[in-house]
C-alpha cells in the first residue's frame, strides 16, 4: 500500500489505484481552521509519512503531489510559484518567485522568457544563475535521474533540438550543443525556453512540477544525488542527505534572503525546524495522531486518513481534521473501439449505483458522487450536462430500456480493474447493477503485482476490455490538463478509451488558441463544451470526486490544503500554536 500522493499523469493514477481507499468527502467545511489565528515563529513541526512516499528528493525525481507541495515551500524555489490562499483562483495563478515576472511570450506560447531576480542564492552562498536553470532542465531528460517515477517529462519533450537528447551525462557533445543553443538559452539574467509548438500553460507547469527547476552543476553527482537536497529555499538539510528510510531534519538556511522572496504569499517559514519522520507502516501514524501526545501535538500526516481509522475519528479528534475536494476524480473509461453504440455506452453509465459505489469505498469521507471527469477543484469545473440528470443511485430500468432500444439486450462486457479488497467489493456491486440492466458481465481483476502493470495493459489499443476503472488528477489546475488528456484523439496522455470525435478535437484546439491569447474564460468555455459533447457521446462513465481528509496535531496552526499545494497541506503558512 501506500503511494497516492502523486500529482497525476499515468503514473499517478496507477498509484492512486493501488491504494483504493485512502481518501474521503466534500469540501463543505471551511479549509484551514487554523488560519484565523496569528502565525507564530518558532517550534518544530513533524511530518509523519512512510518511505514509499519519498522515492527520491532530487528535484528531477519528485512527482508525488505532497512532496512537490512541501519541498516547494521549504527548499526548492523556481521561476514562478503558486501563492498560499484559500481562494482557488488566486492560489492557482503563478506569481514570481526566483524570476521578476511570470514569464513573457512574444509568440503565443512557443517562446517563453523569464528574468531572474538579484541576490538569489543557493544554500552554500553562491548565486543562482541562468545556467543553473539550463542545467536543471537538461538533467530531466536523463531517464536514470528522473528515476522511473517520471515527473511529467512529456511537457518538456517539445523543446527545440531535444530529439534523442538524453541529458548532460549520456548525450553526445553535438546533442548537448544543440540543447544549449536551441532549447534553453541564456542571455545574462534572462532564461529563454523555445518550444516547437505553442505551450500556453508553461508557467503553470513550471510552478507545478520540478522538471524545470534550477540545479547547481558542481553539486551534481548524477544518480548518486537521488536522496540529496541542495536548497534554494528558507530551510536546508544539514549535510544535504535525506535518509530514505528514516527521513530528515530541515533547519534554517542562513543564505536564504527573504527580501528576494514573497514570504507572505509563498513562504512564511514559521517553524524553526521541520522534521520528516518516516515509519514503516501507515497505521501507527494515525494511531499517534489520534493519541495526540507529546511531540505528536505538532505533527501531521500528509497522507489521507486510512479508511479503517474512520470509526476512531470522533469527538475532539474530528476537530483536528480537514476535508477538501482533491484534484483526483475516479471514473470508468469505455473502450470506444469495441463499444461503438452510443446507447449501449449511455446504458453502462445509467445502470450503475454511483452513490452505492461511493459507500463501498468509504462513503462521504472518501469523496462525493460526480458527473464528470473534471475535479471540483479545477477552475471551470461544471457537472457534465449529459450525465447530470442520471440519478446518483442509478436507474437500471432506464438502462434496460436503452439497451432494448439499441437491440442489444444481453450485451456482453468485460470489465477490468486493479484488484484490491475494496475494488473487489466495488465491482461486485457494479456487476450486479449492470446485470440488472441486462448486460452480461465478466470481471477481470488485475493483480497489483501483474506484469505489465494495470495501466500499461489498459493502454494497449487491442486490449480485451470494454470498460475499465480509471482515475486522473491534473498536473496543474486547468481544464486543459484534464479533459483533452483523456478525450482528445491525438494526445500522448491518457486517452486509453480511444475516444475520437473531430468536433471535440476542434473545441480543444480553440480552447488552446484562447488561452494562448490570455483569454481564460474563452478557454474554459470551449473546454466545457468539449466535455459536454463527449458526454452526449457517452464517451466515459463518471463516478466520483475524491476528497483529501487530513488529521493533524492539536498544536498545528495555519493548516490549509489549497490549490497551490494540490490540496495537500500547504506548509507555507503552517505554524506551531
Amino acid at each position: 500500500m501506500g503511494k497516492f500522493l502523486k500529482r497525476t499523469s499515468v503514473f499517478t493514477v496507477a498509484v492512486a489505484m493501488a491504494i483504493g481507499v485512502a481518501a474521503c468527502g466534500e469540501s463543505d467545511d471551511e479549509p484551514g481552521s487554523g488560519t484565523g489565528g496569528t502565525a507564530q515563529k518558532g517550534g518544530t513541526i513533524t511530518l509523519l509519512d512512510v518511505p514509499t512516499n519519498y522515492e527520491g528528493t532530487d528535484p528531477a525525481s519528485i512527482y508525488y503531489g505532497h512532496q512537490i507541495a512541501g519541498f516547494r515551500r521549504l527548499v526548492y524555489r523556481s521561476l514562478v510559484a503558486y501563492p498560499i490562499s484559500d481562494d482557488p483562483v488566486v492560489s492557482g495563478t503563478p506569481v514570481p518567485d526566483l524570476a521578476t515576472d511570470t514569464g513573457t511570450t512574444p509568440d503565443g506560447g512557443k517562446t517563453w522568457s523569464f528574468t531572474l531576480k538579484d541576490g538569489i542564492k543557493w544554500e552554500d552562498g553562491s548565486d543562482i544563475v541562468c545556467e543553473d536553470f539550463q542545467y536543471g532542465i537538461s538533467r530531466s531528460f536523463d531517464e536514470n535521474i528522473v528515476h522511473g517515477t517520471g515527473p511529467g517529462t512529456t511537457y518538456i519533450s517539445t523543446l527545440v533540438g531535444t530529439e534523442g537528447y538524453t541529458g548532460p551525462f549520456t548525450s553526445t557533445p553535438a546533442q548537448q550543443k544543440a540543447f544549449d543553443e536551441q532549447a534553453v538559452t541564456c542571455d545574462g539574467k534572462t532564461v529563454t525556453y523555445n518550444f516547437t509548438e505553442a505551450f500556453p500553460d508553461f508557467p503553470q507547469s513550471v510552478a507545478s512540477l520540478f522538471v524545470t527547476d534550477p540545479y547547481k552543476k558542481s553539486f551534481d553527482k548524477g544518480t548518486k544525488n537521488l536522496y540529496t537536497v541542495f536548497s534554494s529555499g528558507p530551510y536546508k538539510i544539514e549535510g544535504n542527505v535525506f535518509d530514505a528510510a528514516k527521513g530528515a531534519t530541515f533547519v534554517r538556511n542562513e543564505n536564504y534572503d527573504p527580501a528576494t522572496d514573497d514570504p507572505e504569499n509563498l513562504r512564511q517559514a514559521n517553524p524553526n525546524v521541520w522534521r520528516v519522520e518516516l515509519l514503516q507502516d501507515q497505521n501507527p501514524i494515525f494511531d499517534r495522531l489520534i493519541a495526540d501526545s507529546g511531540d505528536d501535538k505538532t505533527a501531521l500526516a500528509t497522507a489521507n486518513i486510512l479508511s479503517d481509522k474512520y470509526s476512531e475519528i470522533v469527538g475532539p479528534v474530528a476537530e483536528r481534521t480537514t476535508k477538501v475536494a482533491s484534484p483526483y476524480t475516479r471514473f470508468m473509461q469505455i473502450n470506444n473501439l469495441r463499444v461503438t453504440d452510443q446507447k449501449v455506452r449511455l446504458a453502462l453509465t445509467t445502470a450503475i449505483d454511483r452513490a452505492g459505489g461511493l459507500k463501498v469505498l468509504g462513503g462521504e469521507n472518501y469523496g462525493s458522487v460526480s458527473s464528470t471527469l473534471v475535479s471540483a477543484s479545477t477552475p471551470g469545473y461544471q457537472p457534465n450536462p449529459a450525465f447530470a440528470d442520471i440519478p446518483e443511485s442509478g436507474d437500471p430500468a432506464a438502462a434496460k430500456a436503452l439497451l432494448a432500444e439499441a437491440g442489444k439486450d444481453g450485451y456482453p462486457i468485460k470489465v477490468s480493474y486493479g484488484q484490491s479488497d475494496v475494488t473487489d467489493k466495488l465491482f461486485a456491486l457494479f456487476k450486479q447493477n449492470w446485470e440488472e440492466a441486462g448486460f452480461k458481465v465478466t470481471l477481470n481483476a488485475i493483480s497489483p503485482d501483474a506484469n505489465p502493470g494495470y495501466y500499461t495493459q489498459m493502454s494497449e489499443k487491442d486490449k480485451d476490455t470494454d470498460v475499465f476503472y480509471s482515475g486522473w488528477a491534473s498536473d496543474w489546475p486547468s481544464l486543459l490538463a484534464v479533459t483533452p488528456v483523456i478525450l482528445e484523439t491525438e494526445n500522448p496522455g491518457f486517452n486509453y478509451g480511444y475516444y475520437s470525435n473531430a468536433d471535440v478535437d476542434k473545441l480543444f484546439a480553440e480552447a488552446r488558441t484562447a488561452i494562448a491569447a490570455g483569454d481564460v474564460d474563452g478557454m474554459i468555455e470551449k473546454a466545457q463544451q468539449a466535455d459536454a459533447l463527449a458526454g452526449e457521446d457517452a464517451a466515459y462513465i463518471p463516478f466520483l470526486q475524491q476528497s483529501n481528509y487530513f488529521l493533524y496535531g492539536s498544536k498545528i496552526g495555519g493548516f490549509l490544503p489549497d490549490v497551490a499545494s494540490s490540496f495537500y497541506p500547504d506548509l507555507g503558512a503552517m505554524y506551531v500554536k
Partner: protein
C-alpha cells in the same frame, strides 16, 4: 493371566479372561475393539460431532444457495452507514442476518462464512486425497521394494522436504497459473486458482505420509501371508495393492484426518496471501483477510471467520488423535 487394572492404558480392553462365574466373554474383532475405544473417548466423539457438522454444512451450502436460504453475494447497501460499516450497535445483527453484514457492500456474513466453508473444505479435501494417493503409492513401493528403489524414493522425499513450501507457492503462482490457463486450457480466474492451490498443496504435502507408510510396509512385508503370496507367484502389483494396502487402512485414515486440518489452515494462509481463490467467492482465508482491517471497527466480522477456522482445525486434529489412539493403542502419545 490377567493384567492389574493399574497397568491398563486408558481405553485399553483387558485380554479375554475367564470370570469367576465361568462365563466366557464374547470375542471381538480388532475393528470392534477400536470402535469401543473410540466411543469411550469423549473428546474424540465431540470432535467427530463438530467435523460431521462442518462437512454436512459444507455439502449443504451449494444447495442452500440454490434454494435461496443463504445468499453470499447479495448486496445490501441500505444496511450500512455513511462510512460503510454495518448500521447499529450490534454489527448489523438482525433476523435476516444472524452474524451481521460485511462492511463495504453489506453481504450477509453468515452466508459468506457458510459458503466459504464449502470452498475451503473442498479444496483441502481434494488436495489431501491427492497427497494421500501419492504418499501411499510411493511409500508402498519404497517399503516393499527396498534396495535402490527405496534409496531413491527416500532421497526424493528428503529433497522435497527441503523446499520452503509457502515461498515456492507464491513464487510459482504466476508461472503455474499461466501454464494452467494457457497450456491446459483451464479458464483463468478462480477455477485456475483453485486447481493451482490443490496441485501445490498436494505436491508439497505427500512426503510425511510416504515416510510413515514405508515404515509400516517394512514390517508387513516380512509377514507370513506375504511370503505365502510370493510363493504362489503373485505379481508385484497384486502384492502391493491387494496384500499390503488393506493392512494400511488404519495409518492412512489417521494420517488423512491429521493432514486435512493442516491443509485447511494452509489454504487459509494462501487465501490470506492472495494466492488462492479470490473474492467475491468466499473462503475462510479471504474472509479473514478482508476482516482483519475491521478488527476494531467491526469486531464480530473479524472474529467470526477466525473462530470458525480455529474450531475446525482443532476438531480435525482431536479427531485424528482420537482415531490414532483407538486404532493403535500401543503407540506412544
Amino acid at each position: 493371566m490377567s493384567v492389574p487394572e493399574s497397568q491398563l492404558e486408558f481405553g485399553d480392553v483387558a485380554p479375554t479372561e475367564v470370570t469367576e462365574t465361568g462365563d466366557t466373554v464374547v470375542g471381538k474383532s480388532p475393528m470392534q475393539l477400536a470402535m469401543a475405544r473410540f466411543r469411550a473417548d469423549r473428546k474424540s466423539m465431540v470432535a467427530l460431532g463438530i467435523v460431521v457438522f462442518y462437512v454436512l454444512a459444507g455439502l449443504a451450502a451449494p444447495l442452500m444457495v440454490k434454494v435461496g436460504v443463504i445468499d453470499p453475494y447479495g448486496i445490501n447497501l441500505d444496511l450500512l452507514d455513511e462510512i460503510s460499516l454495518p448500521v447499529g450497535d450490534w454489527w448489523g445483527i438482525s433476523g435476516d442476518h444472524w452474524l451481521g453484514v460485511e462492511p463495504g457492500v453489506g453481504r450477509d456474513v453468515l452466508s459468506r462464512l457458510w459458503y466459504g466453508i464449502t470452498f475451503s473444505l473442498a479444496i483441502s479435501f481434494t488436495a489431501a486425497v491427492i497427497a494421500m494417493v501419492i504418499g501411499v503409492v510411493l511409500g508402498i513401493i519404497a517399503g516393499f521394494s527396498g534396495g535402490w528403489v527405496d534409496a531413491i524414493i527416500g532421497r526424493l522425499i528428503d529433497l522435497w522436504l527441503c523446499f520452503p513450501q509457502i515461498i515456492m507457492l507464491i513464487a510459482l503462482s504466476t508461472i503455474v497459473l499461466a501454464f494452467l490457463t494457457e497450456d491446459l486450457g483451464i479458464p483463468p480466474g478462480n477455477g485456475a486458482q483453485a486447481v493451482f492451490v490443490i496441485v501445490v498443496l498436494a505436491l508439497f504435502g505427500w512426503m510425511p505420509t510416504a515416510r510413515l507408510i514405508r515404515g509400516q510396509v517394512l514390517s508387513i512385508r516380512e509377514t507370513e501371508f506375504i511370503a505365502a503370496a510370493r510363493l504362489f507367484g503373485a505379481s508385484r502389483r497384486r502384492m502391493w495393492f491387494r496384500e499390503v494396502l488393506p493392512n494400511l487402512w488404519a495409518p492412512i485414515l489417521v494420517n488423512f484426518t491429521l493432514m486435512l486440518p493442516a491443509f485447511i489452515s494452509a489454504e487459509a494462509a494462501l487465501s490470506y496471501l492472495g494466492v488462492s481463490i479470490k473474492a467475491p467467492t468466499p473462503t475462510l482465508g479471504n474472509l479473514l483477510k478482508d476482516s482483519v482491517k475491521f478488527a476494531q471497527a467491526d469486531f464480530l466480522y473479524f472474529v467470526a471467520p477466525a473462530f470458525l477456522l480455529a474450531v475446525i482445525v482443532v476438531a480435525f486434529n482431536l479427531l485424528g488423535d482420537g482415531l490414532r489412539d483407538a486404532l493403535d493403542p500401543k503407540s506412544s502419545r
